[in-house]
């Protein structure tokens, strides 16, 4: 099954890196959509089927926190997992993200294997260990 992803970051470089990592992860990719802020991302979520959103926090116009809050308030998209990708990695930030209902957190720098494991966990693709 191929998955559609949405990458939300104001930096074109980071969007490119995340997309590249997804492509290298071994996941079956349908489409990778990109948005430069939360507002554009919400429009894309209205128009496209998205399996997982990867989002930055600090963005102009609408930041990651507002976007996550609007997603939580919209019954059409409130079940789409949001994974925050950030350079900040202290416990305050992690607790704050948990309080927002974020599905998972990836700290930079990251590798394709990490993205795959997060997606597999969120979408229930983890291999069952019978050992």
């Amino acid at each position: 099954m191929a998955y559609n992803f949405l990458v939300v970051d104001d930096s074109p470089i980071i969007r490119s890196v995340v997309s590249k990592c997804l492509a290298m992860s071994g996941l079956e990719i349908g489409s990778i959509f990109e948005a430069a802020n939360g507002r554009v991302a919400l429009d894309m979520l209205d128009d496209n089927w998205i399996d997982v959103v990867f989002a930055d926090l600090n963005m102009p116009e609408m930041d990651g926190r507002e976007m996550i809050q609007e997603m939580a308030d919209n019954k059409m998209i409130d079940n789409i997992p949001v994974v925050v990708i950030s350079s900040e990695r202290n416990e305050d930030v992690l607790n704050w993200l948990n309080s927002l209902g974020v599905s998972d957190f990836i700290s930079k720098p990251f590798k394709p294997e990490k993205m795959k494991s997060v997606v597999d966990k969120l979408l229930g693709n983890e291999e069952i260990n019978h050992g």
């Binding site: 074109p12 470089i13 890196v17 990695r89 202290n90």
Partner: protein, 151 residues
């Protein structure tokens, strides 16, 4: 009481991020290593239990190499040149997260600001580097100088 800040933490943070994110391998160097090209200096502020500014200075050749490797394109491509400054700022942003965790631990209470970048002269860079609270010099495989310091 916080951990002592030392140059090993700085150099290890930069080295790890450049290797993991941009496939650029570095080693420690000495302050007499010369700059090969114009210098770009990116800075980011952190505030909390410790406050300060983390600075990363590289030459434009290395900045273009970082952009090229992040984007998966050739260093000669126009996009590598146009995205060089943004690439260095993104690298510093990542370095800052790694640096704060290495220095103060995972339970630190520091918040990071937004990185900025500007061109500086060799003299400006030397002065800022030497007056820093803590500093380190690295070089990449091409002999390009990399300064990292906390002020």
């Amino acid at each position: 009481m916080g951990k002592m800040l030392d140059s090993d933490i700085l150099s290890a943070s930069v080295s790890q991020v450049l290797e993991d994110a941009a496939f650029i391998f570095t080693e420690e160097a000495t302050e007499d290593l010369q700059w090969k090209d114009d210098i770009l200096k990116s800075t980011i502020r952190y505030e909390g239990e410790e406050s300060g500014t983390l600075c990363l200075a590289v030459n434009t050749l290395l900045a273009q190499n970082v952009a090229a490797n992040l984007l998966g394109i050739e260093q000669e491509d126009e996009a590598a040149k146009s995205k060089a400054e943004e690439a260095v700022s993104e690298i510093l942003n990542i370095v800052c997260g790694v640096f704060l965790e290495s220095w103060l631990g995972k339970s630190n209470h520091c918040r990071m600001g937004i990185p900025s970048i500007c061109a500086v002269s060799v003299n400006q860079e030397q002065e800022a580097f030497r007056s820093a609270r803590c500093n380190a010099v690295l070089e990449d495989e091409e002999g390009n100088r990399i300064d990292v310091f906390v002020s």
